[in-house]
Assembly symmetry: C2
Homo-oligomer: 143 residues x 2
């Protein structure tokens, strides 16, 4: 049984439902993606260049977007490049980002989530998604 059998199964299920095919590239990229928490398409491109020098950047982008549709990834726009967040093994969360070293810490706070709903209700809105990012310095970078 392969290391990422469960996620590979989720992908295959998604592929099956949408008349998409299981390819060597998709397997390769999923395997590498699941070893990361957050990664950009470019980073993944360089990382995989060793294993398969012919893998195209467009394929990386297409495949990471496919993972988003399959629920395995979520695109996040922290800086200039899109970060693909590996959400295969976790639920909703938000982020603390160190502007010094780029460190990203995930957190979940029910109280904040609840207050967001309150704010929305007060203004007649129904929330579908939200984005909460706290930027600052981690303890190491502050000193």
């Amino acid at each position: 049984m392969s290391k990422h059998a469960k996620e590979m199964g989720i992908l295959k299920e998604h592929l099956g439902k949408h008349q998409l095919k299981f390819t060597r590239q998709r397997e390769l990229i999923l395997d590498a993606f699941l070893k990361q928490e957050h990664i950009t398409a470019e980073e993944m491109y360089h990382q995989l260049a060793r294993r398969d020098p012919h893998l195209g950047l467009a394929t990386i982008y297409r495949t990471l977007n496919l993972f988003c549709e399959a629920g395995l990834a979520q695109a996040r726009h922290f800086g200039t490049q899109t970060q693909y967040d590996n959400v295969s093994h976790k639920g909703h969360h938000d982020h603390l980002i160190c502007t010094g070293c780029g460190k990203i810490v995930e957190f979940e706070n029910c109280d904040i989530e609840r207050l967001q709903e309150e704010v929305a209700t007060q203004n007649g809105f129904t929330i579908t998604t939200h984005r909460l990012e706290l930027y600052g310095l981690c303890s190491r970078c502050r000193h």
Copy 2:
């Protein structure tokens, strides 16, 4: 006494401190900017094309960024284009954004702000900025 005398004063003070010059374009753009809550550079470009067809897009971008440095504006990245937020007459706030019609509602919630600080402290971070955006449907678009 002009309509935006106070803000024009803030701009002039900033210009004076930084060896920058007061130009016809800067005056024109500030005047138009202060009539908006949120606006993109392109929108402003088209709006002002009537008054001054020769005004360049680069000048709009430069000038709106100048307003940010002077504390009159804040750049926000809601969608694909940067929204310049007119903060000349208000303090910190976050946003509710309707994905149906594009409506933007501003709000401020001290409890959320406080909880954000708590989260940061728990993780050894010192927050310098944050971004909180709630996306959903406004009451009109839900029905």
